[in-house]
Assembly symmetry: C2
Homo-oligomer: 242 residues x 2
């Protein structure tokens, strides 16, 4: 395999190799703690120069997915994030419970108005002013999901700025006096990542994603926030408890 052989597909060789290895980790061919084949061996199986393999491994290591040990080998660091879907769902707690460090980052916060569907979910009138928050969440340095959240602009003014500062939805709600909240019905579907999310999630174009739509309520059942989240399917495993 070389850039010429693949008819110049527009995908860098190192990315093909990295994706191949990541897939191997995702589907269990390489378990957490396992030693990967040597760089030379990987280079041979992909018919690629060793430096190209090193580029691929560096990309995976930079995300914390593998760890190289000089003189010994390269080892699998991470595994699929087990993500239980309960009534009480907090990203940071779930990630922390797996021994990984949660991160959040604001991508964009804009004003929006409620479509009929959003209004129904949030118990508002169609056209009501909303704040739309686009955010990404990571475990260690691996992007896990991108989510679009809508909140009432009346109840949560400047929500975007608050999220940018706190980097946490839970803290954002606390800032407005919401001490606790629960998740209502959750819809799970699957799809293919679009170009925008692909870059944000560091996913190859067209990879499968898990799409979760949910609305959070306060303890009296009043809707607070509705979300549309896209998870990298290969990095997460939803657990529905019965």
């Amino acid at each position: 395999m070389s850039m010429q052989d693949t008819a110049s597909s527009g995908v860098a060789l190192w990315r093909l190799v990295a994706d191949g290895i990541e897939r191997g980790i995702a589907d269990g061919r390489f378990a957490a703690g396992d030693k990967l084949p040597g760089e030379m061996e990987i280079a041979e199986t992909y018919r690629v120069n060793r430096h190209t393999v090193r580029r691929a491994l560096a990309a995976l290591a930079e995300r914390g997915l593998v760890r190289a040990e000089r003189g010994s080998g390269t080892y699998v660091e991470a595994q699929k994030l087990a993500y239980p879907l309960r009534s009480r769902t907090r990203f940071s707690e779930i990630v922390g419970a797996e021994g990984r460090e949660p991160h959040g980052r604001l991508i964009e916060a804009t004003d929006d108005v409620a479509t009929r569907e959003l209004a129904r979910e949030l118990g508002l009138k169609t056209g009501a002013p909303l704040v739309r928050i686009e955010a990404i969440r990571l475990a260690d340095r691996t992007p896990i999901c991108v989510s679009t959240s809508w909140l009432s602009a009346v109840l949560f003014p400047d929500a975007g700025a608050v999220f940018a500062a706190t980097r946490s939805m839970t803290k954002l709600l606390e800032h407005y006096g919401v001490r606790d909240y629960r998740r209502g019905a959750t819809r799970i579907t699957a799809g293919i990542v679009d170009a925008t999310d692909a870059v944000r999630l560091d996913l190859a174009l067209g990879r499968p994603i898990l799409v979760v739509d949910a609305t959070d309520h306060d303890l009296e059942g009043k809707p607070l926030m509705t979300k549309h989240s896209r998870f990298a399917a290969e990095r997460v495993e939803f657990l529905v408890e019965s």
Copy 2:
């Protein structure tokens, strides 16, 4: 957007643009015969140099998906291949009926032995000698599907060589005296393309594929050949008639 901005994702910019446009065609945002936005406009929407857009369009044009007309614009040439699933299914006839030129190419022909499942489909005993033919089929210059076919090595000796010469399953069967054949039950599932098929189908890694398993029989109902085909989901549309 530039190679630096995207943190060097390993996917060429022109490929992102080409994929975006192809997706636009696939999901109907640009219909067959439609004029695409001008190169400058595309360059602006993707925040990319016009030359990069031209590279993307050239890749699409080379596959026959779009056609550029100097001084006028670039037009959508192709549409999703309507692929009726009938008892009598012939790739070349289906493609020809859409006004496109069918092509077939042998990728590999090897000897194989029947697994229990293959044996049951073909009415043979487990371990019976088979010929396994890996082939790709195209409409004009666009790859449509990769299929793995198994035939009895006893009934169809040198089937690989015959297919390589005729480039058609129908003609292959004719060569062995089969004048007509019918398709039995067809199973349709979906999945994600693997790295090997991605290159063959010129698909981005992880794109969705339609997987079709079927067995062809002669007119007396004797199994002739069983197939496992992977179609590029975005280029084909199965029609099941009732």
